[in-house]
């Protein structure tokens, strides 16, 4: 299966320009025989929207969204945008389109609202973490901070995912004697989660700068054994094309049957006990 990671540099708040950018990358990916093309988080809008969040939000019926859905003909597409829900809530969403139809919509659950991040001020939090069927197999998608909560990839894998796709807008920060901490932390996390869950992890991160904050790129493909198969360059816009072998999921899970031995019922039981005890304990 040939996947593409579109490591793009969106224009902040310019859905028109970003739509053109998407089309350009889709055409290039199509020429290279890509079967699934993944864009980063909020790829249609850029990240630091603040009050622009209200202005760039799109219902899934909107022309821009439908244009992209229609582009998903021979290749499947996954992209990010500000979703205007029927209840007039705004979500940081990722949309999976295939055969010119919307197959799945993931609404970011964990909205970072600390340090330099302020997503909880603008976005509603998604309420589901579920896998979905694609023509390639069962997949799951997470948006950036979602995967930092260890329950997210856990749930997707229990729900059957063989590939987890993470759409991200991760900034370059924490530079130190060698390298930068954000990039190191990301790769460590992706490798660990891929290995512990026996899944492919596809990481699509953006590049470009918004008011001094640079997004580092470094999009990556991690195998179900936890090894990095491919990384994109730092800070540069590019299309990364990688052939992945979904049979590696079988091999990884045969060699290390962590999923087989997982005790979901135990987890549920213990979590229910903990939750009950916490609520009964009250303030004490």
């Amino acid at each position: 299966m040939r996947i593409g990671l579109a490591q793009i540099k969106p224009h902040l708040g310019r859905v028109d320009k970003n739509l053109e950018l998407h089309i350009r990358f889709i055409e290039e990916a199509r020429d290279q025989g890509v079967e699934l093309l993944v864009f980063p988080e909020l790829s249609l809008t850029g990240y630091g929207l603040l009050d622009l969040t209200y202005e760039v939000a799109k219902k899934i019926e909107a022309a821009e969204i439908q244009t992209l859905v229609k582009e998903a003909k021979e290749l499947d597409l996954l992209f990010g945008f500000v979703e205007h829900s029927p209840e007039h809530l705004l979500y940081n969403s990722a949309l999976y389109a295939s055969k010119q139809e919307i197959k799945y919509l993931h609404r970011k659950v964990y909205l970072p609202t600390y340090g330099m991040f302020d997503e909880g001020r603008y976005f509603a939090s998604g309420q589901t973490i579920r896998s979905f069927a694609t023509r390639f197999g069962q997949m799951g998608t997470l948006v950036c901070e979602d995967i930092w909560h260890t329950s997210s990839p856990y749930l997707l894998v229990q729900d059957g995912a063989e590939v987890i796709i993470v759409l991200s807008n991760s900034p370059a920060k924490g530079l130190k004697e060698t390298g930068m901490s954000t990039q190191e932390n990301w790769y460590r996390l992706l490798q660990t989660q891929a290995q512990l869950n026996g899944v492919y992890l596809l990481f699509a991160n953006r590049v470009g700068v918004e008011d001094g904050t640079t997004f580092f790129g470094g999009s990556a493909v991690v195998t179900p054994f936890g090894t990095i198969q491919k990384t994109a360059s730092l800070f540069k816009e590019e299309l990364v094309v990688v052939d992945i072998d979904l049979d590696l999921v079988r091999k990884a899970r045969f060699q290390m049957p962590l999923l087989r031995d997982e005790k979901m019922e135990l987890v549920i039981r213990e979590l229910e006990r903990i939750s009950r005890q916490r609520s009964e304990r009250g303030w004490k």
């Binding site: 224009h11 902040l12 530079l175 004697e177 930068m180 470009g208 001094g212």
Partner: protein, 280 residues
């Protein structure tokens, strides 16, 4: 010298190659996004403006960088010569505009003015020249204030602190030294004692009352590592801690936009929030 300095504060050491790549990429993108190709930089002959110059040249090419020397009659001739070293080395276009006449004309009304007032006035004259040349050359003003002096408020509000983009504002002075050495800033600029050069024989460390190495280490533990005051006291003398903290707090006003008194429901900066880059 730089290696000796870093050996004492190894936790401040940065990946020089990566920082350079990050800063030159983001500087170029921010300039271009704003619709500009060129930049203008006030070059004092000191370390900070030299580093900004070298980063700008790497980001945009020498042909897009304009360096401006703006000496006052008491400015050190060595500073002027050092600035020339950087200009010759980078081969950028340059101006030398004396500010003596305009500053002296103003203070003819206030012959008793303190050195502080005079120093601030000089910094703001330089700023106004840079912004005039900015309009003349369609070139953005590039900042030269490092993270240490921004935190300490060791600069003139709307003077040397004014710029469109500041590439070195997130680097402590110690890190400015490291990066300047890496980028090949001429030796005399790196080895001389830092000075605002607003009056004769002024040096930063004498005026501040502590060394950059000392205060950078302190700021690292306080700002970056979030040590509590009790924890800081195990590493630094109490009077020094008080002195630095007081400076940082007192000068907070220099690091923010002017306060706007709220009347409407959507006050600029409070509940009317947009990034500068939005829509570009």
């Amino acid at each position: 010298m730089v290696e000796q300095l870093l050996a004492q504060v190894p936790f401040l050491r940065l990946d020089e190659k990566l920082v350079t790549e990050l800063l030159t990429t983001s500087l170029r993108e921010e300039v271009e996004k704003a619709g500009f190709q060129r930049v203008v930089i006030g070059l004092s002959g000191g370390l900070d403006s030299a580093l900004s110059l070298y980063l700008a040249v790497r980001a945009l090419g020498a042909e897009n960088v304009i360096a401006v020397r703006m000496p006052y009659r008491t400015s050190s001739p060595a500073s002027l010569a050092d600035a020339q070293l950087a200009i010759d080395d980078t081969k950028v276009q340059s101006y030398t505009i004396e500010i003596t006449e305009q500053v002296d004309a103003y203070f003819a009304r206030f012959p008793q003015a303190t050195v502080l007032r005079r120093g601030n006035k000089m910094a703001r004259e330089r700023m106004s020249i840079l912004y005039d040349l900015s309009a003349y050359h369609q070139a953005l003003v590039i900042g030269t204030s490092n993270r240490t002096e921004l935190l300490l408020g060791y600069g003139t509000q709307f003077g040397d602190s004014a710029s469109a983009i500041n590439p070195i504002g997130d680097l402590y002075k110690t890190q400015v030294w490291q990066l300047a050495a890496y980028l090949g800033v001429p030796e005399p600029i790196i080895t001389k004692p830092p000075s605002a050069d607003l009056w004769e024989n002024q040096t930063d460390e004498a005026e501040l009352g502590f060394s950059y190495q000392e205060v950078d280490a302190f700021l690292y533990y306080w700002v970056d590592q979030q040590y509590t005051k009790d924890q800081l006291r195990t590493l630094f003398p109490a009077p020094f801690i008080e002195k630095v903290m007081k400076r940082v707090v007192q000068n907070r006003y220099k690091r923010t936009m002017p306060v706007i008194l709220k009347v409407s429901n959507r006050t600029i900066g409070q509940d009317y929030r947009y990034l500068r880059d939005a829509g570009l």
